[in-house]
């Protein structure tokens, strides 16, 4: 489900089936790394859209968690923690964060959700066909991460 009124309506009526939330983490920079930050956002947004298409019936794709790259990492980390707590309170059993910002790798253990970190691939020079093939192959490698997590918790 996407974060649009039509999908959210479905979500409300089928809540018991949707136990997973995806939050893309976008780091924004307005200085030297502006271009890299745009590339990362482009790549991660294509990727999350594709993951959402695969698993539309079991997950809710949240609007991205966006933060300034130069902001203090403690404040950003705390804000994300707040998101996590609210999501958990709303009944989401599995939370996935998708990001291209390596900074999160050091914070990983503070959170219950799983981080999926991917190096951003610049897509600007690619044709549409190449983009689709690339994102498709990346996504097909990600899918088992989700199904594994679901199976782990099913056993409990």
């Amino acid at each position: 489900m996407k974060w649009i009124s039509k999908d959210v309506q479905t979500f409300l009526s089928a809540k018991e089936y949707i136990d997973t939330a995806i939050v893309p983490l976008y780091s924004i920079s307005l200085e030297a790394e502006l271009k890299q930050s745009a590339e990362a956002v482009e790549f991660i947004s294509l990727l999350t859209a594709q993951v959402e298409r695969q698993f539309a019936g079991r997950l809710l794709l949240l609007p991205p968690f966006t933060y300034l790259k130069k902001a203090s990492s403690e404040i950003t980390a705390e804000q994300l923690k707040n998101w996590e707590l609210s999501l958990a309170a709303a009944g989401f059993q599995h939370i996935f964060y998708l990001t291209a910002d390596a900074e999160w790798r050091r914070q990983e253990e503070k959170y219950d959700g799983s981080f999926i970190w991917l190096p951003a691939i610049p897509l600007e020079s690619m044709s549409d066909g190449q983009k689709i093939t690339l994102v498709d192959s990346q996504v097909s490698q990600l899918l088992p991460l989700f199904t594994q997590k679901w199976q782990e918790n099913q056993g409990k």
């Binding site: 089936y17 698993f55 689709i132």
Partner: protein, 168 residues
């Protein structure tokens, strides 16, 4: 010189009728064309979208066929890629199934679950469908997979808009 001479009056009336008819036709033709335009367009069947799949290459094993079309969402036009599971049935007819699970809209895969081979499997809530798209009772989906109408043109497969299947 023939006996029947054309009088000046006759010559003028023939010429005027000819030229007048020509002008009237010039005015009426576009009007008629506009009037019948919807009919002509319907004949082209513009809703079918070309895929890169050759009909001759299809076997009885479902393959994923991706196709892209333009979708307009309010003022935002975007390219949308959709997939279909396509195979040839026993009678040689092409079957094109929508991969969208009828339960909550996940994408189903062919033969991806080892415990249930030769079925369409939905990883979200373990919904399953037979090869012909019929939902298997006892799994979450309550309806068979949608079917794409198809056309063959120059050897390539063209797919229309997926339709819910009528109860067999």
């Amino acid at each position: 010189m023939s006996k029947e001479r054309v009088s000046r009056r006759q010559f003028l009336s023939y010429t005027l009728t000819g030229v007048g008819g020509f002008m009237a036709a010039g005015m009426l033709m576009p009007m008629v064309r506009f009037a019948v335009d919807p009919v002509l367009r319907a004949e082209e069947g513009g809703e079918f979208i070309a895929t890169t799949q050759k009909v001759a290459d299809l076997t009885d094993e479902p393959v994923r066929v991706d196709f892209t079309f333009k979708q307009k969402d309010a003022w935002y036009e975007s390219d949308v890629t959709q997939s279909a599971w396509v195979y040839k049935g026993d009678d040689g007819k092409v079957v094109a199934l929508s991969p969208v699970c009828k339960h909550l809209g996940c994408t189903v895969n062919w033969n991806s679950n080892k415990e249930h081979p030769n079925q369409f499997f939905c990883p979200c809530h373990y919904g399953r469908y037979e090869k012909d798209g019929t939902n298997i009772p006892g799994t979450p989906p309550l309806a068979p997979l949608d079917v794409y109408p198809y056309k063959e043109k120059d050897g390539y497969l063209y797919l229309g808009k997926a339709e819910p299947r009528k109860e067999a």
